[in-house]
Amino acid sequence: MKKIRIGSGAGYGGDRLEPALTLMEQGKLDYIGFECLAERTIALAQKEKKNHSEKGYNPLLEYRMEKVLPLAHKYKVKVITNMGAANPEAALEAICSIADRLNIKGMKVAAVLGDDVLDYVKNHRSLKIIETGKALSTIEDRIISANAYLGADGIVQALQNDADIVITGRVSDPALFLAPMIHEFNWEMDDFDKLGKGTLIGHLLECAGQVCGGYFADLRRKVVPDLWDIGFPFIEVDETGEGFISKVKETGGIINTATCTEQLLYEIHDPSSYLTPDCIADFSNVKFEAIAKDKVKFNKASGKPPTDTYKVSVGYHNGYYGEGQISYGGMDCLERAELASEIVKKRLKIFDFQDLSIDFIGMNSISPLEIEAFNVPEVRLRVSGRTETREQAQQIGRELETLYTNGPAGGGGATQTTDEVISVVSVLVPKTEIKTKIIYSYT
């Protein structure tokens, strides 16, 4: 029976690169997907594109592709990524120029377009905002972007036309991984049972390190070896849509039924109805079985027909965010901090702030509990350093931030900088109103 291997190269836009390279070198992969686009990042990317028409794709695209393209070429691994963000066309050009510079010849690069539906939503102001129930016209002057979550079909079409690299804008996260299965196994786009199985695989892979023990470890019951050197996952799947998940030997981390179960339930609501553009996946009967070290078999996912609408994320300007921090220590430090907050509140009254919130980090900034029974209610890790370059300094924040998907369980609230507030709401647009288009280029 035909089998393919699909790896996961990134769990979010700013993720580490090294585990992806190891996976490409040693994982015997046919495909690798890099999931790099969130609700908020697409709106920010659109804003960047407005200021710089040649930008608006993932800021780490060049950094990643410098290393990824030679390996994709050498090991014949096809690359699928939503790093195109707001500007897949510019991303395609950037990739081709990197290939040119590295003297990599004979690759076909595709960009899937069509998720940008800003013009459509601007002409349909009566569309209802899902979160508020109000019409889109209530925010119409402030709208920055509108991007539909496309499904797998555009990527499948690119693969059928022999693309080696497929770059997209907004697509559902599982679609990046589902598309190669549809293409390789000739699954019909209305074989919803198979699409549901493929969606499970996409969902297990889409957060990369998280299914390999990232964002899982604790000190008492969930011990994860070599978390600093966590490997990223791959799956081997056959044409029935079932298979196993594993990672490259000698990499850190762990894959077991517990890591798989946490990832299965991550950011889904009703497990029997996980809505995607390609199908409504049913994970409610999924089973996991550990068959070897770091190797877990999965089965029993299924699916139903999808809805006839695409979910569209609408980004809009929603004011500005400002933050200041100050610390107090020693005797009566909380009382002194409280006094300071009272002074700030009084001083700020003249500006008529709405939602001015005051947190005492280490006391109640992240805890929702109304008890103070714990000796150390909160602790916040701060790492800082003095460096020569801006790039170097940024690396500290990046390393802390990657603990979200790669570090110990339950970490929260990583902050780097803050600026203008771009909020995102959702609307539904009939699928018949949205057309995808694919463009190609050769290296």
Partner: protein, 99 residues
């Protein structure tokens, strides 16, 4: 006993909605969790954080539950001024629930 002794958990977010899994280490503890960790108790335990409804989905074959908490993230990651905008730490707080 606190929940962390028999179960593990991870939080995720979608807009202003938080989802928190709760997974028994041993499937034998599933029924105990089912009895003790009701939607009412979760809502009460997390207090003012959760302004909306709480739903619980059951996956006995995995020894797991998925809790979906509406209006629980101060407007969600793109609007909230909270430090933990995603509510990533809520799982750790859920695990301190005494049962």
């Amino acid at each position: 006993m606190e929940l962390w002794e028999i179960a593990h958990s991870r939080s995720g977010d979608k807009g202003n909605i938080s989802n928190i899994s709760l997974i028994a280490y041993e499937k034998a503890d599933y029924e105990l969790l089912k009895e003790k960790v009701t939607v009412e108790r979760v809502k009460q335990w997390l207090g003012k954080q959760v302004k909306g409804e709480v739903k619980r989905y059951e996956l006995p074959q995995l020894g797991a539950f998925n809790f979906v908490l509406y209006d629980a993230l101060n407007g969600g990651v793109t609007s909230s001024t909270s430090l933990d905008k995603h509510g990533k730490s809520l799982s750790s707080f859920l695990l301190r629930m005494p049962i």
